[in-house]
């Protein structure tokens, strides 16, 4: 008899969707999430394209469904170490890193107030700092603080332990390993932003005020490092003249050979962030092709194009240099205009793409495509992949795909 239990690897939008759908269909679910919170990349966004609603929109509904259902067991700060067995009966080893804060945490913030140590915020891509005892972000689910083991001085300090009234902090927590039995596995480990520093001609990391599109999401986000004010990192100057560099690493054999699909729509979306905030701001989007497939996606493109202050230039930026006063100089060939042009901007956003996370699963014997995504046709029975692990997709399509894939996983449980 197969275990009526589905393991979901990754608690981002795809994993969350798969989890609630499976749970509501009557299966037990385990979510294994690497971060201390659920929601994945979506939690870092300011708005979704093309509806332009904030990500809590979709996330809160999913969290609510998980809470109401009660059949979903969540492991945060955890990774799957080993999967053995076969379809219907898998033994899964899960390793959990110490959070140093247990579920008694009420989110009162006293530990943060007491903590003297600082750490760079990976949630904000290093653009802000938090205390070593911190809440990952203000919408974090589960609402439970974390202590960064690397930044924390441990029992020699222990100021947070004194500050906590609920006995929620235990600095002697150790990594734990548990083994669970499941009937099916849905992998939803998602994507990482491609490392922009790898493109040695685009200035990321060497030229001031060159940022990535995911950093732009944080800057524009009300819970971001600038509380939603779009200013440049070097001097806090308002960004009134901004360039977007499309295909920064995508559709490029030297980096990511695939089209990451989301970057065109993301830049159009981010152009509107700037335009809404600063009525006199100018935006220039350098592109090879603007790819906005789909009726609503294309309408969104048309709408942004109507804005006189948003201009489009056909020609990929292949050189980014520092200009005086923190400005950024970009060079491209204006293909329609017929000459090489160099223009200066307050800030430049590299529309970096999706680095699939399938590579980390390679050791587990998961077959991959040439582009580094999971080759779903080659997966063993009872194991499924969903979302950006298979192909670059947006949030809406992730939700659709996860719903379909989880159906397959439930069927596999019934079949055994």
């Amino acid at each position: 008899m197969a275990e009526n239990k589905v393991l979901i690897v990754g608690g981002g939008f795809s994993g969350l969707t798969a989890a609630v759908e499976a749970a509501e269909a009557g299966s037990d679910v385990i979510i294994v999430e690497k971060n201390p919170y659920l929601g994945g990349r979506v939690t870092q966004l300011n708005k979704y394209f093309w509806k332009m609603c904030p990500p809590n929109c979709g996330l809160e509904i999913q969290y609510k469904r998980i809470k109401n259902n009660g059949q979903v067991k969540i492991y945060t700060m955890a990774e799957v170490e080993k999967i053995s067995g076969s379809g219907g009966n898998f033994d899964v080893t899960i390793k959990t890193q110490p959070r140093f804060v247990n579920e008694k945490c009420t989110g009162c913030n006293k530990c943060t107030e007491a903590c003297p140590e600082e750490r760079s915020s990976d949630f904000d891509f290093g653009m802000s700092k938090t205390r070593a005892a911190y809440l990952p972000h203000n919408q974090a689910f589960p609402l439970q603080y974390v202590i960064d083991g690397k930044a924390c001085k441990g029992s020699s300090c222990a100021k947070c332990v004194e500050a906590c009234k609920y006995d929620a902090i235990h600095l002697d927590m150790k990594a734990e390993t548990v083994t669970v039995k499941v009937g099916a596995v849905v992998m939803a480990t998602g994507w990482n932003p491609y490392d922009a520093a790898k493109m040695d001609n685009l200035g990321f990391g060497t030229v001031q005020n060159v940022i990535t599109n995911m950093m732009m999401e944080r800057i524009a986000s009300p819970n971001g490092p600038t509380l939603g004010k779009i200013v440049r990192p070097s001097d806090g100057k308002e960004v009134k003249n901004i360039a977007f560099v499309q295909c920064a690493g995508s559709r490029d054999e030297n980096h990511l050979a695939h089209c990451s699909y989301i970057c065109c729509l993301a830049s159009l979306k981010q152009a509107s962030y700037v335009r809404e905030l600063y009525p006199d701001a100018k935006v220039k989007i350098f592109y090879i092709d603007i790819r906005t497939p789909g009726l609503y996606e294309n309408r969104f493109y048309t709408k942004i194009k109507e804005d006189q202050n948003v201009s489009f230039l056909k020609g990929k930026v292949a050189r980014v240099e520092q200009a005086p006063n923190g400005d950024v100089k970009v060079t491209a060939e204006d293909i329609h205009g017929g000459s090489k042009i160099t223009e200066t901007f307050d800030m430049v956003v590299l529309a970096t793409g999706m680095q699939p996370t399938a590579a980390s699963l390679k050791n587990a014997g998961v077959a991959m495509t040439d582009d580094g995504f999971v080759d779903q046709a080659a997966l063993p029975k009872g194991i499924y992949a969903t979302g950006t692990l298979k192909t670059p997709v947006d949030v809406a399509r992730s939700a659709q795909d996860a719903t379909g894939v989880v159906m397959k996983s439930i069927q596999s449980l019934r079949r055994n």
Binding site: C247, E253, I288, G315, K316, A332, E333, I335, G338, K340
Partner: protein, 385 residues
């Protein structure tokens, strides 16, 4: 549709580019990274992005009439950064091959020089030629000169060597002149731009740019090639001086009855190793070898980024390398009094003849046509850097 432009692709031309080292041509998706990373293109209407689309669409006339295909020095920065592996540097090289063929006085000679199918003929012609005119096919019969080996006794300077090479050089020079004239006329007819000053006036700055290897200095990925090419270029120049002086040595003394002047030794070869002419020859040979090895190693090491090149490039390297290797080996063998040196010298003549004969038909033609195009680009204000 009154203003529609009908584009007639020359499919044969596209095929020839693909066959001639530009097999990656169709991968280009016109992102224009290449035009940006290129440091030698003019800012206005830059290359090589437009050449890629013109080549894909078989626009032979427009491509071959553009000085841009010759302004390209194949730094291969474009190839290294190309997101599609379309290798614009290699494609433009294949286009230049077509340009050489188009302006050739005798197109068949260009075929021999650039088509792998004719490699046997390329070397068979001079091998038969020199075999027929050599006086001693049994090298043990070659008389010694003052008790030592002498290549001028193996293959007499007159008429065998000099008559052959003078005729060959004259034909090559005539071919090059016709080619230059045709290339200029093609470019002028297409460009329509009015030139400034006399065309000849623009040749000098073009030549000084070439002499200083200024354009190569702008390359990033293939930076090392500047030194390789510079050494090879000046070793050729040095050897050209040596050849000229040798003529004076040989015929001058007869003319004026002078035997020697200081350490200059007039008369029949070989000359002692401390003769200034000999020293220049040896220095040039070392520079030649160094330059050649740099170019060869650079091409192999950078193949992943810059492309490996095609037959067009490799046959040229083979001829140039053959000239150098046989020349130096023949010299060494003569010093050792080894008669195998005669046959090495025979092959040296074969390689040198091939180099001369096909200069305006092989990759060597870049010397004439790039200079022409650079002068034309200056003349029409296209490239003033």
């Amino acid at each position: 549709m009154a203003d529609a432009t009908i584009i007639k692709p020359d499919l044969q031309f596209v095929k020839e580019i693909i066959k001639g080292g530009g097999e990656s041509l169709k991968k280009c998706y016109q992102c224009a990274t290449c035009s940006v990373v290129c440091n030698v293109t003019p800012e206005g209407n830059p290359f090589p992005r437009k050449e890629m689309v013109l080549a894909q669409w078989g626009q032979k006339d427009e491509l071959l009439a553009s000085p841009d295909i010759w302004l390209c020095h194949q730094c291969s920065d474009c190839t290294a950064y190309c997101p599609r592996g379309a290798k614009p540097g290699e494609v433009l090289n294949a286009v230049r091959k077509q340009s050489i063929k188009q302006v050739a006085l005798v197109p068949f000679l260009s075929k021999i020089a650039t088509d792998p199918k004719f490699i046997w003929l390329l070397f068979a012609i001079p091998m038969v030629l020199f075999y027929l005119i050599m006086p001693y096919r049994d090298v043990s019969m070659v008389p010694l000169l003052n008790g030592k080996m002498s290549y001028s006794n193996f293959m007499p300077v007159w008429p065998q060597v000099d008559a052959t090479f003078m005729l060959t050089a004259a034909f090559a020079a005539f071919s090059a002149l016709v080619g230059i004239k045709r290339l200029w006329a093609t470019m002028a007819a297409r460009s329509g731009a009015k030139g400034t000053g006399s065309p000849i006036g623009h040749v000098i700055p073009a030549v000084t740019t070439i002499l200083a290897h200024k354009k190569f200095a702008d390359c990033d990925v293939n930076r090392l090639r500047q030194w390789g090419h510079l050494l090879l270029f000046y070793s050729f120049a040095g050897l050209a001086v040596v050849t000229t002086v040798a003529i004076v040595y040989l015929y001058g003394w007869k003319f004026f009855g002078i035997q020697a002047f200081g350490s200059f030794n007039f008369g029949k070869s070989p000359y002692p190793n401390n003769d200034p002419m000999k020293i220049l020859a040896l220095v040039s040979s070392v520079a030649f070898a160094a330059g050649f090895i740099i170019l060869l190693v650079n091409r192999l090491v950078k193949a992943g980024k810059a492309g490996l090149g095609g037959y067009f490039d490799w046959v040229f390297l083979l001829i140039v390398g053959g000239v150098g290797a046989t020349g130096m080996l023949a010299w060494a063998l003569r010093l050792q009094e080894m008669t195998a040196g005669y046959w090495v010298y025979y092959f040296h003549l074969v390689f040198v003849w091939t180099l001369f004969m096909y200069a305006p038909y092989s990759k060597f033609a870049h010397l004439f046509y790039r200079t022409t195009a650079m002068a034309f680009a200056r003349y029409t204000g296209r490239d003033t850097k």
